[in-house]
């Protein structure tokens, strides 16, 4: 069974149709890039897939459960445990330290932080931010902030991470490092990743690329260079 299934998803804003009967299936371990021109609806699709926004019509199933029917509290728990989010502007809580930001979903779930301490140590070391755990976000560079955001997305071992322009606010070198890291996570941790990007180059890190145009999806199967070519 697919991890995520979007069935005939429609999204309208007034008279304008942004998504027109979009259907999509994502398997566990996929790395999917959604590309498209500005205003094509790619970010809208991502927010619908993550339960942030509701479609006008259609269904979104995660592990067979229709998230469009879920109440806000159920969605909150879903976001906390099943989906990790990473966005262009890092979006860290400014008054929490790096450590507190990463452990935020754990604290909110009421679980013991101690039981996640080894996971936390592994993650910060893996992401190379172990020296910054006591700092506040404004003391970090853009790349470091994005790594913290990724760590927060991974702390609960989510089944998938949704990302909207994860490198959009970073220089190309740092952006490339982040993409390699994500590919690594996808490969080593088997975490499903869905990213929205307008960067052709970043899209190539995925094993599936979907282009969105006039509210409809056009899938391009990608067997392309992937991480190996980019690391070269």
């Amino acid at each position: 069974m697919s991890l995520l299934n979007a069935i005939d998803v429609v999204k309208r804003f007034g008279e304008t149709t942004i998504l027109d009967s979009v259907s999509l299936s994502v398997d566990s371990g996929d790395f999917l890039s959604i590309t498209g021109a500005s205003g094509s609806g790619k970010s809208t699709l991502l927010t619908i897939l993550g339960g942030i926004d509701k479609p006008t019509d259609g269904q979104v199933l995660i592990d067979g459960k229709d998230i469009t029917k879920m109440k806000e509290n159920e969605l909150s728990i879903l976001r906390r445990t099943t989906i990790g989010f990473v966005f262009q502007f890092f979006n860290l809580a400014p008054y929490l330290t790096v450590r507190e930001n990463i452990l935020l979903p754990i604290i909110l779930s009421g679980k013991s932080q101690k039981s996640y301490s080894s996971k936390f140590e592994q993650l910060v070391e893996y992401l190379g931010i172990q020296d910054h755990v006591s700092k506040l976000p404004d003391k970090l560079s853009g790349g470091e902030q994005q790594r913290v955001a990724i760590a927060r997305g991974l702390i609960f071992d989510p089944k998938m991470i949704l990302m909207d322009e994860p490198t959009g606010n970073l220089d190309s070198k740092t952006g490339n490092d982040i993409m390699k890291l994500l590919k690594d996570i996808n490969k080593n941790l088997n975490t499903t990743i869905i990213q929205v990007t307008h960067s052709e180059k970043n899209a190539q890190f995925a094993n599936r690329i979907i282009n969105i145009s006039d509210g409809k999806l056009v899938e391009t199967t990608n067997k392309g260079p992937g991480v190996d070519e980019h690391t070269a």
Binding site: T44, I52, S76, R79, L104
Partner: protein, 851 residues
């Protein structure tokens, strides 16, 4: 239209709610300024109203101040030079009671030459008796002489023209039966609405030529000095002053106005804080505009100017509405307080101009800091956004400020004179520093405690972020300041209100029976016992009244006069004293010549329990007596006049003016039974006191009538006005808290988005908001209470301004109440605003630049 102006107007339209809040605060500030410029007029006219009502434009008043002394009108007439053509008006004024079939009422009898008075003064009549004649007997003071009553008094006492009333005439120890000839409208001598004065002819009370007040009107103003000298020589014991006692009124007015203005400054300061918080939101929204202006080459000065134009627009709108509203407010205040003298208050142009100028200044001052800060920042700094994390607190500075605040507050208790002013200034600076430095460590400490209680969920998040969040620290500081300001304004108003707390309200009983005749203790006991024998009576105590003087006070120094009461027993003392210590009874009974002194006298004279004080008599007739007493207790009653003390009746039986029986009744009686009981008690007292068909110089009153009926409606008006002001201050404080909460929470929308994105449920969010609110509220209350403690130390100096000496205690009890109230209000407001904000947070806006 200028393009920048156009742009500014469009910007204002985008920040409607905060712009409205700023305009609203400016309106309130302008109203308060405008009112404050006239408040002195109000206080002056309120104080002068009672005197002006009788004076009716007279230049000089010669009076014995209702102290019982009388003098001859013929003698006064002799002293007036016919060539000076001085107009004179003679009065015999005294306090008395009016008896009806079911009640007794306090009145002020004003006896004049009635026909001459009505010829010289135009009184408007609401009602007139249409009977044949008023005077039906040649025998005065027996019955049916005419009397004129004021409209409101007559209405309250349910009296109509043509009714017969009985007025007690102490000179003859009889009730004179009089017919109500006119009910006069509330103008002229009846201009004080709730006045209890009755106007009658000298002959109605059988007194011809004996007066206790004369009003003179001079043709030549220069005659004032001449006659002042003449009358001072002729009557050294009388008071000679302006007809409307203007100097006395001015003195009271100045003190009250000073206090009022002090309170006003604090109110304006709170309003400025509200304005500042509102403008902070606007200025943040303007950040992108500033970047564009700067990128287009605008200098910091130009950016400042652009932003100032916006503030000026708010100020102009606000002050325009404020001036109109202020003028209307004055109309309402003056017509309700000074109905007869409404035109006395003038509104010259300068009041409008000055109010407007100060309102503009205050508006700009309130918004200047964010404007200058924004204008000075480079484009890079603006793009990077505001740095809102807190730097670590300098612990040394924090400890120093704490020690300074406590030390200076304690020091204030022990110093006097100019030292108080100097220490107060240092204290204010230290307190400001303390607020600034203490907020973060206290929040951090509380967060630590909360975290120990709850290590996960929404509360845990609040404990992790609160002490790093600059906005929360700002709110804590604002809330502490609002707390402190509210405390000081409420305290100052309480002080001003004291001026209208009736003196008689210090005594606590259901009925008061006043005996004017001097008797021996057995005679008083007989009256007491006859009342006690009535089954519904619970207790009866009695006290003699007289006057002594504090030691070392020359006889002409009124300030040294002390109202002295000789109490029959300690039970009588307990009925008139507040908060007596538990051992006072034992000391009273075991001491030979004990005295219980009111707290005001204790503070003023720096007396202590255990001191032995020798008082002086007010008359040389008693110089051979020893008035030496041992202070054994303190009475904490607070009224408009508190120079009062209580001694044993046996130590004071040689000199007193009157005796008061304080009667407590069964509280379970029905209204009808109580009315009947009053009449029974009244009869019992009169019967026990009567002798040879005389009344026995005794009259009975219900407590409320005795304690409060002499209070004029202007006094009540002042009290109500001040109460309104107090309520307004609480409302303004709540408004400030709401505004600050809205500003802070809505400003953190993006931060809250991150929490939601990380899986924060509605329950998590509620607990997070409650956690933050509790941390801020507890911290603010703590700091606010410390500030209240400091301010409390300043209050004695403030109360001394109105010649009151009050023991405020070291720890302000009202501060605890206020702290709880403000904390609760804040937690509720913060929580409600947070929940409202929660509904506005849409996660689909998450991929915007957040910080």
């Amino acid at each position: 239209m200028n393009i920048l102006l156009k742009h500014t107007l469009r910007s204002i339209a985008k920040s409607k709610s905060q712009a409205l809040m700023i305009v609203f605060t400016i309106v309130i500030i302008t109203i308060m300024l405008f009112v404050s410029f006239s408040v002195s007029d109000i206080f002056y006219n309120i104080n002068i109203a009672e005197y002006s009502r009788v004076a009716q434009g007279a230049d000089m008043l010669i009076t014995s101040d209702l102290n019982g002394d009388t003098f001859s009108s013929a003698h006064v007439e002799k002293l007036l030079d016919p060539n000076d053509n001085v107009q004179s008006e003679y009065f015999l004024r005294f306090n008395s009671v009016m008896k009806t079939t079911d009640d007794s009422k306090v009145i002020i009898v004003e006896a004049v030459d009635l026909s001459e008075y009505l010829n010289n003064h135009t009184l408007e009549f609401a009602e007139r008796w249409k009977g044949d004649t008023a005077i039906v007997s040649d025998t005065p003071y027996i019955e049916y002489y005419p009397v004129i009553l004021g409209e409101t008094f007559a209405k309250n006492a349910n009296i109509s023209a043509g009714d017969l009333i009985e007025i007690y005439v102490p000179t003859y120890d009889m009730y004179a039966k009089l017919i109500v000839l006119y009910i006069a409208k509330n103008t002229g001598i009846f201009s004080i609405g709730a006045g209890v004065n009755v106007l009658l002819d000298f002959s109605a009370i059988g007194v011809i030529g004996v007066i206790n007040a004369v009003y003179l009107k001079f043709n030549d103003p220069g005659d004032y000095q001449k006659y002042e000298t003449i009358f001072k020589q002729a009557y050294p014991e009388l008071t000679i002053e302006e007809g409307n006692r203007a100097s006395y009124a001015k003195e009271i007015t100045m003190n009250n106005t000073l206090l009022f203005v002090a309170g006003l400054i604090f109110i304006i300061a709170v309003m400025m804080l509200i304005q500042l918080t509102s403008y902070l939101v606007i200025s943040r929204k303007r950040m992108s505009e500033m970047i564009i202006f700067k990128a287009s080459g605008a200098t910091p000065l130009q950016v400042t100017f652009i932003m100032l134009v916006e503030v000026l627009i708010y100020a102009l709108i606000g002050l325009s509405i404020g001036l109109v509203a202020g003028r209307l407010a004055m109309q309402i205040i003056s017509s309700s307080l000074l109905s007869a003298q409404i035109n006395i208050i003038s509104y010259p142009f300068w009041k409008y101009v000055l109010s407007a100028l100060i309102a503009i200044f205050v508006s700009i001052a309130a918004c200047l800091s964010p404007i200058l800060s924004g204008a000075r920042k480079s484009i890079r700094e603006l793009v990077a956004g505001a740095q809102r994390n807190i730097k670590p607190t300098n612990l040394v500075a924090f400890v120093i400020s704490t020690v300074l605040v406590i030390g200076l507050a304690i020091m204030l208790k022990f110093i006097t004179g100019i030292g108080v002013v100097i220490v107060s200034c240092f204290l204010i600076i230290a307190a400001g520093l303390f607020i600034y430095l203490s907020a973060t460590p206290i929040i951090k400490f509380l967060s630590f405690l909360f975290r120990k209680l709850k290590a996960s969920g929404g509360i845990a998040i609040s404990t992790l972020s609160s002490f790093k969040n600059k906005s929360l620290r700002s709110i804590t500081i604002l809330l502490s300041t609002v707390f402190a300001f509210t405390f000081i304004v409420a305290s100052v108003i309480d002080l001003v209100k004291l001026a209208v707390v009736p003196y008689n309200s210090r005594f606590q009983s259901d009925y008061v029976i006043v005996s004017l005749q001097k008797r021996d203790v057995a005679g008083y006991d007989r009256i007491r016992d006859s009342i006690t024998s009535i089954s519904e009576i619970k207790s009866v105590g009695y006290i003699n009244f007289g006057v002594l003087m504090a030691p070392d006070n020359p006889i002409e120094n009124l300030d040294g006069y002390i109202n002295t009461y000789g109490a029959r027993d300690f039970e009588s003392v307990e009925m008139v004293c507040e908060n007596l210590s538990s051992d006072a009874k034992e000391r009273w009974n075991s001491t030979d010549h004990p005295v219980i002194v009111n707290s005001e006298l204790m503070i003023k004279n720096n007396w202590q329990i255990g001191d032995t004080i020798s008082f002086l008599p007010t008359s040389t007739d008693f110089v051979d007596y020893d008035f030496t007493f041992l202070i054994i207790g303190i009475d904490y009653s607070v009224t408009s006049y508190d120079r009062v003390m209580y001694v044993k009746i046996t130590d004071f039986s040689m000199m007193f003016d009157s005796t008061m029986f304080l009667v407590n009744i069964d509280q379970n009686l029905s209204t009808e039974d109580e009315q009947l009981l009053f009449l029974v008690v009244r009869d019992a007292a009169e019967n026990a006191a009567s002798d040879d068909n005389k009344v026995g110089q005794i009259y009975a009153l219900r407590y409320d009538e005795w304690a409060y009926s002499g209070t004029s409606d202007t006094s009540k008006g002042v009290s109500n006005l001040l109460l309104l002001l107090q309520v307004a201050i609480y409302l303004i404080s709540v408004l400030g808290i709401i505004n600050v909460s809205i500003v802070a929470i809505f400003d953190r929308k993006q931060e809250l988005l991150v929490y939601k994105l990380s899986g924060m449920t509605t329950k998590n969010y509620s607990m997070f908001s409650l956690g933050e609110a509790s941390i801020v509220a507890i911290t603010s209350s703590f700091i606010g209470y410390i500030l209240a403690f400091v301010i409390n130390g300043l209050l004695p100096s403030m109360s001394a301004l109105v010649a009151k000496y009050i023991d405020f205690g070291i720890f302000p009890r009202s501060g605890v109440f206020l702290g709880l109230l403000i904390s609760l209000a804040f937690v509720i407001i913060w929580f409600v605003v947070s929940l409202l904000n929660n509904k506005k947070i849409h996660l689909n806006s998450i991929n915007e630049r957040l910080f």
